[in-house]
């Protein structure tokens, strides 16, 4: 199993704060990788660094055998927070079509193929009927589906998703979950962050974070009671098995996640 991402002794800072201290981890190709950890443990920071949005302070981080910045065109990133100012006259179709800008450049006219890519992405997320609706007229779940459609409409070999299922209605969660499992079949690698232990267990590969990478590997090897206790520092873990454990989620803790 080849790796699309390889990090050795990587340190990532946000401002003056060290978000991830010296850590090693890998992300395998064509698989689903889940990054799990408490709020502020560095989950989104890792996605930002892989996407080339955040430079590393030391160590090495290679993405598709290159620097993150040089691989940026092959990475599609669905951010956790995409706040479009209210009143922006932007339709669903236009928002998804923006994902083709890297290919079209400033003045390129979209070909039939380009339009097909956009329509196909919308169809996969079951938002074709919302094409002419404004983003501000959609529910949270519908909007998240638009952002994921935008993510898959872009050319990519890696799809990064920051808490894609958090706070969604059942239909939206089901649709996005099917995309997560469908992308590896199409030859893409999926990396997502989550607070859901069961979701992490269902992934092919897991990275457990707590201001550093506590473990990186198969879920059964990483999500052990000892590692989870290290990551979450929960005394209650002694009274539960790791399988029973319900981890604090964004809904329970209203902190800013990283």
């Amino acid at each position: 199993m080849s790796d699309i991402v390889s990090a050795q002794g990587v340190v990532i800072t946000r401002g003056s704060r060290v978000a991830i201290s010296a850590s090693d981890f890998t992300i395998p190709a064509g698989k689903i990788t889940a990054i799990i950890g408490p709020n502020g443990s560095g989950k989104s920071t890792i996605l930002h660094a892989v996407a080339g949005l955040l430079p590393i302070s030391s160590g090495s981080l290679s993405v598709l055998n290159n620097t993150p910045l040089l691989s940026q065109s092959q990475v599609s990133y669905v951010l956790q927070y995409t706040t479009v100012p209210a009143g922006t006259p932007l339709t669903v179709m236009e928002a998804v079509a923006m994902a083709r800008y890297p290919k079209l450049g400033l003045f390129g006219r979209p070909s039939k193929e380009e339009k097909k890519r956009v329509l196909a992405a919308m169809a996969r997320l079951e938002i074709s009927d919302l094409a002419k609706r404004h983003l501000t007229e959609l529910s949270g779940g519908q909007r998240q589906r638009v952002y994921v459609a935008q993510g898959i409409a872009q050319d990519h070999t890696i799809l990064l998703l920051d808490e894609p299922l958090t706070g969604l209605d059942i239909n939206s969660a089901k649709t996005i979950d099917s995309i997560i499992h469908d992308e590896p079949v199409r030859g893409c690698s999926v990396v997502l962050t989550t607070h859901d232990l069961e979701e992490a267990r269902a992934a092919d590969h897991v990275i457990l974070t707590a201001g550093r990478v506590v473990g990186s590997g198969k879920p059964s090897d990483v999500l052990t009671t000892e590692n989870l206790t290290n990551a979450y520092g929960l005394g209650s873990l002694h009274e539960h098995t790791a399988t029973d454990l319900i981890l604090p989620t964004e809904h329970h803790l209203n902190d800013h996640p990283h």
């Binding site: 995409t82 922006t88 006259p89 923006m98 079209l104």
Partner: protein, 280 residues
């Protein structure tokens, strides 16, 4: 018919109309991006920020456009400096520079014998004093501003959507942001002679804000804003002629009044629609 034609019978009145239309076009196009990016407060501060540059140009008898451009540059750099060196929010740094630059402008102009006359012209413009040379300068600036704001549609839309996404798509959001600031500066500098530094803000924000209420897409918003701006200039000058009011101020007040008229109509229509839907 005479009621509509009389206000533009003389050369200086026609130049006032042409100057106002050029100002309206460039401020509407660039103002669309200003409104979409939620930078209205910056725009307000910015138009006040050029006052000391224009005042210094009047005192030292140099081209006011050069003074305005220099002041605009100082304003943007100072806001960036405060943002980078402190943890204060951006609106604080904008507010500081807003007051500071305006006060500095008044201090500079107060050294002139014709203090109040010069200050009034800078702040409120002199629509009827626009010369043919002013129109040429305005036309060049309008061409540059409208072309750039249209050609940079994709980077500007991506930046308005999300700065991080724009970066991921390789659309260089920082460079786009700086370009937008330059375009705003050019539009303000190119318009202040017609409508003044204070009132240019009315044209910068009024038409795009009104267009946003009735537009489904950004290009349509830009186009509608341009039409509203042109109508505002024409209506403002016509009303000022017949009611003997200040031309620049009347031009600036029309888009604001239009905004509230359109807002009321759209609200009434949506209420009516809701009533019909609830009956069904």
């Amino acid at each position: 018919m005479e009621w509509f034609l009389d206000p533009f019978a003389l050369g200086f009145q026609q130049r006032a109309l042409a100057g106002g239309i050029l100002a309206g076009l460039m401020t509407a196009v660039v103002g669309t991006w200003l409104v979409l990016r939620g930078m209205s407060f910056f725009g307000d501060a910015f138009v006040h920020g050029i006052v000391p540059g224009v005042a210094a140009a009047v005192v030292f008898d140099v081209n006011p456009l050069i003074g305005a451009a220099a002041a605009a540059l100082v304003m943007v750099l100072a806001i960036e400096l405060v943002n980078r060196q402190t943890v204060l929010s951006e609106d604080t740094s904008i507010g500081l520079l807003f007051v500071g630059m305006l006060a500095l402008g008044v201090v500079i102009i107060s050294r002139l014998d014709s203090y109040s006359g010069s200050l009034t012209t800078i702040l409120f413009g002199d629509a009827l004093g626009v010369t043919a040379q002013d129109l040429v300068t305005q036309a060049i600036l309008a061409l540059v501003v409208v072309s750039a704001a249209t050609l940079l549609y994709r980077p500007l839309l991506a930046l308005s959507f999300n700065q991080e996404k724009a970066q991921l798509w390789g659309l260089k959001p920082q460079r786009t942001h700086v370009t937008l600031l330059v375009l705003i500066a050019a539009a303000v500098i190119g318009s202040y002679q017609s409508v003044g530094t204070l009132l240019v803000f009315g044209l910068l924000v009024g038409p795009p804000a009104t267009a946003a209420l009735i537009s489904r897409t950004v290009p349509r918003m830009m186009f509608t804003a341009a039409i509203i701006a042109v109508v505002s200039v024409w209506a403002g000058l016509t009303l000022s002629y017949h009611f003997n009011t200040a031309g620049s101020a009347t031009m600036a007040i029309v888009p604001v009044v239009l905004f509230f008229i359109v807002l009321t109509i759209t609200k009434l229509r949506s209420r009516q629609r809701e009533k019909v839907e609830s009956r069904v």
